[in-house]
């Protein structure tokens, strides 16, 4: 479904230095697979996601979706950001319909589809409320509906639950799994949270910084449907342990050496 072929991306900093955000990243993601990208700040997770979204072009290498090179945002993909980025002047329903308006693809059944999605995330009755009347978690649910409205094959999520409190975050994680099971999609999900990355994913791509690259891809052999009860399982702990090792391991070595 998504192929990243030795993707590199560098940025020019303000003082003119070339900074490699990503170096030679290759990753293949199958249809309806759930992949999480985890790693410390500055490892290029968000850049990688934006390259897959067609918002940023790679300096070298190429991203493909279904074999077609990604040179601009494609209809098959939708982004969900860390902040809900809802339009403050529009109702919940109009926010969900926003992509169709931007693409000029409003149809006679669009409003009904939007209502259905709002029901799917448990927000029935809030269709005509304005975003500021909703809690953070509810706003992010609306943002997910908005990403689903044009029925994309691929959901690209950039720390979507990063700004939520811990309890809402767990709730939303399960909610996302439920949505994914009723409407299978290919999901690439960037996160800072290791347990979140393991609980959601079929595979976790652990990234390391300077330059950003994939350190290791870890298969998560846990059964679905999943819940936070799995955290006690040896497989879960083995995965989180391995990820911690990859992210913090070399730092621990350095400390020992010093």
């Amino acid at each position: 479904m998504i192929e990243l072929e030795s993707v590199s991306r560098s940025f020019r900093s303000r003082d003119g230095d070339e900074i490699a955000a990503l170096k030679d990243v290759s990753l293949g993601i199958a249809r309806n697979e759930f992949v999480t990208l985890v790693g410390p700040s500055g490892c290029g997770k968000s850049t990688l996601l934006r390259i897959a979204a067609g918002l940023i072009l790679p300096t070298r290498g190429m991203a493909r979706i279904d074999g077609a090179p990604v040179r601009a945002p494609r209809d098959e993909t939708a982004m969900v950001f860390q902040s809900p980025t809802l339009l403050p002047w529009a109702t919940v329903l109009d926010n969900v319909l926003f992509p169709l308006r931007m693409m000029g693809r409003m149809g006679p059944d669009s409003a009904e589809r939007a209502r259905e999605l709002v029901r799917l995330v448990g927000l029935q009755g809030f269709e005509h409320k304005s975003p500021r009347e909703l809690s953070g978690g509810m706003q992010q649910r609306v943002a997910i509906c908005r990403a689903l409205i044009h029925e994309p094959q691929v959901l690209l999520m950039d720390e979507p639950f990063g700004a939520l409190d811990a309890l809402t975050r767990e709730e939303m994680t399960l909610e996302l799994l439920r949505i994914w099971e009723t409407r299978p999609k290919t999901i690439v999900f960037v996160t800072h949270s290791i347990p979140e990355a393991v609980l959601l994913a079929d595979r976790v791509a652990v990234m390391s910084p300077r330059p950003g690259r994939i350190a290791e891809i870890i298969d998560v052999p846990l059964p679905r449907p999943r819940s936070f009860d799995l955290e006690a399982q040896p497989d879960f702990q083995r995965c989180t342990h391995r990820i911690r090792e990859l992210i913090f391991g070399h730092r621990a070595d350095q400390r020992r050496a010093a």
Partner: protein, 255 residues
């Protein structure tokens, strides 16, 4: 209830001030050409009410034309200013320069250029009022969160769609704070223009009545102008509240 009380308090304060003014003029026997009592102002103005109404209509006409011109010209200017850094670099210094010209000094030249009619007055009103409007609209356009613009891009929105579906609505609270400044300045601009060149209007009335020592009438015109300023300002507040209820609750910082 709360709204009524909120309006009553300032009205009561004004009433007390007017009473103190009236009392002080009589108590200290201040001559009318220095400071006329409110009752004298009222009497002299009421005697020529029809005439004053005609002057008021003329001034309102200039204010509104200048204000509308400010909106019509500021919007595309703000779009240009925010379209690219290169364009901004080209336009911005010119804009700032127009602001550093003393409008009162420019007014007689404009009369020579444009003729002794309504046009130079509208142009001066516009020149006084438009700048803060351009700046607040441009600030609003630039205040759109990057993620919201990325969202638009991820749906391949054209620049035009981005402008009227994202930037413009996002800028509404900023636009209104600019409009509030602009309408107050439009009143000032219109009067400046009428001082320099007019055969009607409240500014003209102030100049002619002081020349003929009809000081109470001049005072009446000044008071009327302040009332016009307050009413127009409030009209914009009401328009924002009625048509953009989400905007008045948004914290917008104007430039």
């Amino acid at each position: 209830m709360r709204g009524a009380r909120d309006a009553l308090v300032p009205l009561a304060v004004v009433a007390v001030l007017v009473l103190v003014w009236e009392g002080a003029v009589h108590l200290f026997s201040i001559p009318a050409y220095l400071l006329p009592a409110p009752s004298v102002i009222w009497r002299d103005c009421a005697a020529i009410a029809g005439n004053i109404a005609w002057h008021t209509a003329a001034t309102m006409n200039t204010i509104m034309l200048g204000f509308v011109a400010s909106i019509v010209i500021s919007l595309p200017l703000a779009v240009l200013l925010t379209s690219s850094p290169a364009v901004a670099n080209a336009i911005y210094p010119v804009l700032v320069f127009t602001q550093s010209i003393p409008k009162v000094a420019l007014a007689p030249l404009l009369v020579v250029m444009l003729g002794a009619n309504e046009l130079p007055r509208v142009v001066i009103t516009f020149l006084v009022a438009f700048f803060p409007l351009v700046i607040s609209i441009a600030t609003g356009f630039l205040a759109v969160p990057a993620e919201l613009l990325e969202l638009g891009k991820s749906y391949r929105a054209s620049r035009l769609r981005e402008l009227y579906r994202i930037r413009l609505p996002y800028a509404v609270p900023f636009i209104f704070s600019g409009l509030k400044v602009a309408i107050t300045l439009a009143v000032v601009g219109a009067i400046v223009a009428e001082f320099v060149n007019a055969d009607r209007g409240l500014g003209y009335l102030i100049i002619t009545s002081t020349a003929f020592f009809k000081v109470p009438v001049a005072w009446g015109a000044v008071i009327l102008l302040s009332v016009i300023g307050v009413v127009l300002f409030q009209a914009i507040v009401v328009i924002e509240r009625v048509f953009f209820p989400w905007s008045s609750s948004v914290e917008a910082v104007s430039a």
